[in-house]
């Protein structure tokens, strides 16, 4: 299944991922599991937004202004 993904890396190094549409709720866990191998263990403080992914976090991240 092909999914559109948006990954945001903030200036302080935090990473969050958002799957757009479709079966996003299921796909996101697969994507985050893959990222975890490279980014670090789940108890890493800097990664909390990624692993606490939920609607609220998504909304906050989407509201961040990313100017081209």
């Amino acid at each position: 299944m092909k999914m559109a993904v948006q990954i945001i890396i903030t200036k302080d190094g935090q990473v969050s991922a958002d799957v757009i549409g479709g079966r996003g709720d299921l796909c996101i866990t697969h994507i985050l599991a893959g990222l975890e191998e490279l980014l670090g263990p789940a108890d890493n403080t800097k990664l909390k937004p990624e692993y606490q992914f939920d609607t609220e976090v998504t909304a906050i991240l989407r509201s961040q202004e990313v100017k081209a």
């Binding site: 299944m1 990954i7 200036k11 490279l38 670090g40 990313v66």
Partner: protein, 135 residues
């Protein structure tokens, strides 16, 4: 003598990506099984690390910068002097951001993702891609 401190709130899981991130920031890191950290007067310290940036690359009064493997990730070891003056929180965040960017791009490449757009701005970087996910 400036004491060394471990910054456990910052962790890097992959040695190669950490080396690349340091190089992207203009540094020339060394890697080895147990490298000695030296202070600004050339004095050998008790601390050991697997990835080290020598003090001459950091500043005239700086101490070596180390990253020690704790079994799960590499933890920065920074002297109190450098943590305040050269390898500040802002610098540490920029290293983390660079590492994260390289890690995400590596991940997307490994997944065979098609990157549609990369937007860089004041808040950070947004990457838009299409990924094949097997459920």
């Amino acid at each position: 003598m400036s004491a060394y401190k471990e910054f456990r709130n910052i962790q890097f899981a992959n040695a190669e990506l950490l080396m690349r991130a340091l190089k992207e920031l203009g540094l020339k890191p060394e890697i080895g099984p147990s490298l000695i950290l030296y202070g600004y007067q050339g004095d050998a310290r008790q601390q050991r690390a697997q990835i080290v940036v020598r003090r001459q690359q950091i500043g005239t009064s700086s101490n070596d910068l180390g990253f020690a493997w704790n079994g799960q990730a590499f933890i920065p070891i920074i002297s109190e002097y450098d943590a305040r003056n050269t390898l500040t929180e802002e610098w540490r965040q920029s290293l983390l951001a660079m590492y994260s960017k390289l890690a995400v791009l590596r991940f997307l490449e490994a997944k065979g993702a098609s990157i549609r757009q990369i937007q860089a701005g004041e808040a950070g970087i947004a990457i838009y891609a299409t990924v094949e996910v097997k459920l």
